[in-house]
Every structure is written in C-alpha cells, then in structure tokens.
C-alpha cells in the first residue's frame, strides 16, 4: 500500500511538471511581441525605447530556460507575477477567488451526488418501469441542456417568476443555491446513469443471489450489498465530474456575477492578459491532478480488491 501511494505520488509530480511546461510554452508561443502588447495595455505609446524598457522589466531578454526556471520557482512559492492589464498581484487576486470557486464546486458536487444517487436508485429499484424511464429521460435532458441555458432558466423560474432567490451576487447561502443547482445539473445527469448501470451490474452478481437466497428484501440488498460495491466506481466518475466542473464554473460564475477563478480566467482570456491566463491554467491543471490523486487514494480505501492487490 505504501508502495502504491509513493508510486502514485511520483506519477502526480511528473504530471505537475508537464502541466507547468504546457502553461509556460503556451504563453511563450503567443504570436506578436508581448512587450509591445503590455506597453499598449498600460496606456502608453509603444515607442521602441519604452518597449525595450518593458521587455527588460519582465525579463523577456533572458534565455528561455532561465525564464522557465524563474517562472516555475516563483509559481511554486505562490507568486504568479503581476497582471499585465491591471498591474495587480495575480496571487492576491487568486487567493480571494479560489474560496468562491471552491464553495461553488463543493456545493455542486454534494448536490449532484444526492440527486444522482436518488435517480439511480429509483431506476434500479423499478428497472425498465416508469421511474426508470423517467430518470433516464431526465438524465438525457440534463446532459443535453446547455449550462448557460440551465442558468437562465433557473434565474427566470426562481428569481423572476417566483422571486424566491437572488438572481446574482455572492452574499450568503441563499445566493449560493441557484449557481449550485446550475452547476450540479450536468454531473447529476451523468452520474445517475453511472449509478443505475453500476447497480444493475451489481444486482446480477453471485453475492446478490446469495443474499436473495438468504431471504433478504430488495431494499436491504440494494443498500447493504450493491451500494458498497459501486462506491469505487462512483468515486471515480465523481472525480471526473468534479474536474469538469471547473469548465462549468467558467460559464456559471459570470452569469451570476461571482468573482471566482473561472470569471478571472475568462477576463484574462478576453483581454489577453497572459499572466492571468497562465496562472489560472496552472491552477486548473493542478486541480485536475490533485483530484485524480485523491480519487485514486479513495478508491484504494473503499475497494478491498484493489487494496489486496497492492499489499
């Protein structure tokens, strides 16, 4: 088990290194002279002298390898440089925004888990009957409706028509509900199918037959025998969905006027603020890698079969 964990950690470190390389190369390969762009963004006339001064200031004249080492060293210490556009510290901006996005993703993941388990169990309890078909239809609808349209529908239903919840802003749990629901729709739809199919497979396995022959009821078998069996599968799928939620956050945060990392990334992309794009990209990639690591460790904890393999 220690062997597995150390091997997995090494794997993650290699991936992190590759991710940093990708982020760095992307910005270096940007077309046009970055120094001119920055000079213009600062509102100055881009005279050759000023451009040269800017290039010197942000270290564009050093060799590539040196720039990479400098940048990586700063990034590891949590310093992502200064935004080309606003002149503010990117790390300070990010620190506030990470909490917002964290709340968004954590809440949505919890809601998606609850909804998908409920829908999946409905389907598995009455297979191929009305509840199963209804949950399947809901899953198809949820997986096909564009996230921004879901958000617009939520605002229209809950804040315009019924005036129950605020339509935008980040002020207290009441204003969190709509963004949570909006982000949760897609993962809930996908995960409900995972639960449904996983439960059906588990219900066809020999230990369920044994449980049936012992005279256990359908509910007991579903919860006591089948549910622990699909936990590793579910955690795996949930990890993928949590990773995808970063992409959904980019759409949902501006819609609800939340100042999160997704909103920051989008603003960076819009104004070609490379430092912001680079920092956000590195954070997203790090997040995927960490989530994957946690998923693998959680699967190890919940699945005795894999645990035995590695001990």
């Amino acid at each position: 088990m220690i062997h597995f964990i150390s091997k997995r950690l090494k794997h993650s470190l290699v991936l992190l290194f590759l991710a940093s390389l990708v982020c760095f190369t992307l910005v270096v390969s940007a077309p046009g002279n970055v120094a001119v762009l920055i000079a213009e963004l600062r509102g100055a006339v881009a005279t050759p002298g000023y451009v040269e001064q800017v290039a010197e200031e942000i270290g564009l004249n050093k060799p590539l390898l040196m720039r990479y080492v400098d940048w990586l060293g700063d990034a590891v210490r949590g310093d992502f440089g200064i935004s080309y556009r606003t002149g503010q510290d990117v790390s300070a901006d990010l620190a506030n925004r990470m909490l917002v996005t964290g709340i968004l993703i954590a809440g949505s993941a919890a809601i998606a888990t609850l909804i998908s388990l409920a829908l999946g169990f409905l389907g598995a309890f009455w297979p191929y009957k009305l509840p199963d078909r209804a949950s399947r239809g809901l899953a198809l609808l949820g997986a096909s409706t564009p996230t921004f349209f879901v958000g617009a529908l939520m605002i229209y239903a809950f804040s315009v028509t019924f005036q129950l919840l605020p339509s935008f802003g980040f002020a207290g749990p009441q204003s969190w509900i709509l963004p949570w629901l909006t982000v949760a729709v897609l993962p809930a739809a996908v995960l409900s199918r995972v639960v449904r199919v996983g439960l059906e497979e588990a219900m066809a396995s020999p230990f369920v037959l044994t449980a049936k022959s012992k005279g256990l009821g359908r509910t007991t078998i579903l919860f006591r025998e089948a549910l622990p069996n699909i936990t590793p599968l579910f955690i795996n799928a949930l990890g993928t969905q949590v990773g995808l939620m970063t992409a959904t956050a980019i759409i949902v945060e501006p819609l609800f006027a939340w100042q999160g990392v997704g909103d920051y990334f989008l603003a960076g992309v819009r104004f070609r603020d490379f430092m912001v794009v680079q920092a956000c990209l590195l954070i997203f990639l790090t997040f995927f890698i960490v989530v994957n690591l946690i998923v693998d460790l959680a699967v190890l904890l919940t699945d005795p079969r894999i645990r035995r393999q590695w001990s």
Partner: protein, 298 residues
C-alpha cells in the same frame, strides 16, 4: 437502389425522433438563406420586443429583428462552424491516429499520452486557453475547438487502425511486396475514415454546444451574425420583460443537442458499426447476385 438498402436498414434501427431532429437541423442549416422569411439583421426599433404576429411568427427581439428568421439563420451558422471544427479535428485525429496505429512503438506511446492528456482536460478550458493566447475571432474559435476535439477521433482511429493492421490481408500485402505507402493509403486510411465518421456525427452535438458556449461567453461568433448562444446572451438583460427571446434559442439548441446525443447513445449501444468497406462489399455482393437473377430471367 440496392446500394442504399444496408444504409436504410441501419437507419431503421436508430431512434426515429433523433433522426428527424437532426434532419431538420441539417436541412434548416443548409437551406437557411432561402428559408428565412425576413432579413435576420434588419432592425426596426419601432417594432422591438413584440409578441408573435402574422408578420413576425415568433416576435421580435430588443432591436426589432425577426426572431424566427434569426433562429433559422443561426442553424446555418452553427452547422457551418460545427462542420469546419469536426472536419479539421477529424483530419488531424485520423492522420495522427493511423500513423500511431501503423507504426506502433514509441510513436504510438507518445501520441497516445498526448491524447490522454487532451481528453482529461475539459475542452472548454483548452479552447479558451488557445483563444486567450491568439486573440478572439471566428477562425481562432474554429481552430481552438478543433484542437480540443482531435484527441477523441485520434483515439478511435488509432483503435480502428490497430485492428485493421492485425488482419491477415495486410500481412498478405506485405508478403506480396506492397509498399508501406500503398498499405497506408489504399488499405488503412479508407477503412479507418468510415468508422471514425460515424462517431464524429454522434460528437456533433457537443461540438454545437461548444460553439454556442463560446459565443455565449462573447469569444465565438460575434454579433450581428445570429447564433443561438449569442442570441441568448444578447437577450439576457431583457429576461424579465421578454423571456421568449431567451427561451427560444435555448430550446432550439437543446433540441439539436438531444437529437445528436440520442443518436450517439444508440451508436454506442450498437457497438462499433461494421467498417464502411465491409458494408460496401455486402452491398456489392447483393448487387452482383441480382444481376445473375436478371440474366436468368431473360
């Protein structure tokens, strides 16, 4: 007509509602300029925000443009951009995938590692990163989406190519002294393209969704060109007074995506369809059999 029979038989097995939706989408998209009853960008501020009427079947938006015409033209915009995205992505994917499947070894390892990474990062983040570096624009959007989409077709075409390369007739060709170029272009590539195309159509829904999402974020198709996502974000400030302008483009997009997703699910359930070449062979055989019948009749 006999050539069409196997294709019709396959179509019969697919969900009819999905096929109708997709057919409608493609037909609207192709013939949009002739179908739209009015010019989609003519503004008439005196008639802004009206409800449905004989002149404007689905009302007008906040600038007095005819919503029905705009929805139809938007299908065209969507179809063209999805077609170019999938076309470019599939060209890259098939090329790299077949090369990996043909060569195996380290080429295969490196390419498939890249594909793994590409598939594990959400496509929206990849395309946004590219747009952020290059700067927004129509072709940037198409290229950025293609860059996010090729790993999918790359993985499928690699799998198909590997299975074709392990078939006995390839070995026979090698023994007969066929050049690598001949094997690659005459045997490997045509066989792969057929299978990958089928998956690509199932993927078109998510591609349409991505185009709409980028347009919604203001980084895809720019106004005044009508596009569903961009129409929706355009009407969003007027959600309270005129919700129809938000609902209609959203519903149109959702219908199209549901159609493609249902089709994709049925393709996935039917497993990999027989490669195009084999289907054509079967059709050919049926045709030849009918010839002999005609001859014996005469």
């Amino acid at each position: 007509m006999n050539m069409l029979n196997p294709i019709l038989a396959r179509l019969n097995k697919m969900p009819r509602a999905a096929l109708i939706t997709i057919g409608l989408f493609v037909a609207l998209g192709t013939f949009a300029p002739w179908l739209a009853p009015q010019d989609p960008s003519t503004q008439n501020l005196l008639e802004a925000g009206l409800g449905p009427s004989a002149a404007h079947w689905l009302g007008t938006d906040h600038l007095g443009r005819d919503t029905f015409s705009r929805l139809i033209i938007a299908a065209n915009t969507s179809l063209v951009s999805v077609g170019s995205v999938l076309g470019i992505a599939m060209t890259i994917g098939i090329l790299l995938g077949t090369i990996a499947g043909y060569h195996r070894g380290w080429v295969d390892d490196v390419l498939m590692r890249v594909v793994d990474v590409g598939l594990s990062v959400p496509s929206l983040i990849i395309s946004l990163a590219v747009i952020g570096i290059v700067g927004p624009g129509y072709w940037t959007m198409v290229l950025a989406l293609a860059l996010a989409w090729w790993p999918m077709s790359g993985r499928i075409s690699r799998a198909v190519a590997v299975s074709i390369m392990s078939k006995p007739h390839i070995e026979a060709l090698r023994v007969l002294g066929a050049s690598p170029w001949r094997i690659y272009f005459c045997h490997l590539l045509p066989g792969t393209i057929g299978s990958v195309m089928v998956y690509a159509t199932a993927d078109a829904g998510t591609a349409a969704l991505a185009v709409a999402t980028l347009s919604f974020l203001g980084l895809g198709i720019q106004p005044p060109t009508p596009e569903w996502g961009q129409m929706l974000v355009d009407a969003l400030p007027y959600l309270e007074s005129d919700p129809r302008q938000v609902l209609l483009p959203g519903l149109a997009l959702t219908a199209a995506v549901i159609g493609f997703n249902t089709l994709g699910e049925s393709i996935a359930l039917n497993r990999v369809p027989k490669p195009l070449t084999r289907r054509m062979l079967a059709a050919r055989r049926a045709e030849v059999a009918s010839w002999s019948k005609e001859n014996s009749d005469a």
